[in-house]
Symmetry: C2
Amino acid sequence: MSDNRDDRQASATDLLEIERFIPYRLAVLSDWVSRSLANTYQARFGISIPEWRILANLAREEPLSAGELSERTNMDKPRVSRALQRMVRSQLIRRETDANDQRVAVIRMSDRGRALYEQIAPLALDWEQELLSGLTDDERRDLNRLLDRLREQIERIRDSR
Amino acid sequence: MSDNRDDRQASATDLLEIERFIPYRLAVLSDWVSRSLANTYQARFGISIPEWRILANLAREEPLSAGELSERTNMDKPRVSRALQRMVRSQLIRRETDANDQRVAVIRMSDRGRALYEQIAPLALDWEQELLSGLTDDERRDLNRLLDRLREQIERIRDSR
């Protein structure tokens, strides 16, 4: 038993080639992608990756609470909260009281925030097309399908524990 | 000209469905994957995601400098540096002077760090298999190929600017 376990550990250690390990490959790729995309807006418009993600989510639906933004952007609350503070100062968003619950603050884009979003969105879409330009239509479909499948599987793993 | 630009902006704004935007989908998925994987080791072995990534890279090659670890783990230097400080305190790694250049500090796993890595590696590989269990062999090949292609394309974009 203990011998088996040692064997299994030794082979796992040999087998875990970090540069081929899927969780790691995804982390490295997604970070490269976010940073490369950020080159199209960061210097030119002076906003950070968290600020861009918040604008893009508000453009889809608003108002949203800080908690909802944290969930949708998948960023932790302190990070969202720091970004929101900067965005209030630079007048990209407004905080309002929820019409249904006076204790809850909700966030909307300001006209200035919307104008900025509308400048960045076409650049972001162009950049996405450049990223995908090496893939055929079939490969793009495969990519989207595989991302969906992995996401479903993560949900399954989470629910099973 | 200005009319065209307005049209293009309006349609881009409509087209950018953030939940289908590939850079965003990758970011959300990879974050879910890293966090779900971390559930297998964080509570049980008391190490963080950066510490795990550092151990896994040292297991592949050592010694490495802090800068090399920053590059390979794709984490910024302050984050790597904080993780290394914790790992020195918990005796998972040792800092040494580079044999070729006395001014450079390099990092190696301690016996304790290696023993920890050898406990986590099989769990991480099992978890990866669970993540991929919904995919056929062809789909796994597709996934790896698509991740390679996107990575090459990111490098091409970076080199062209």
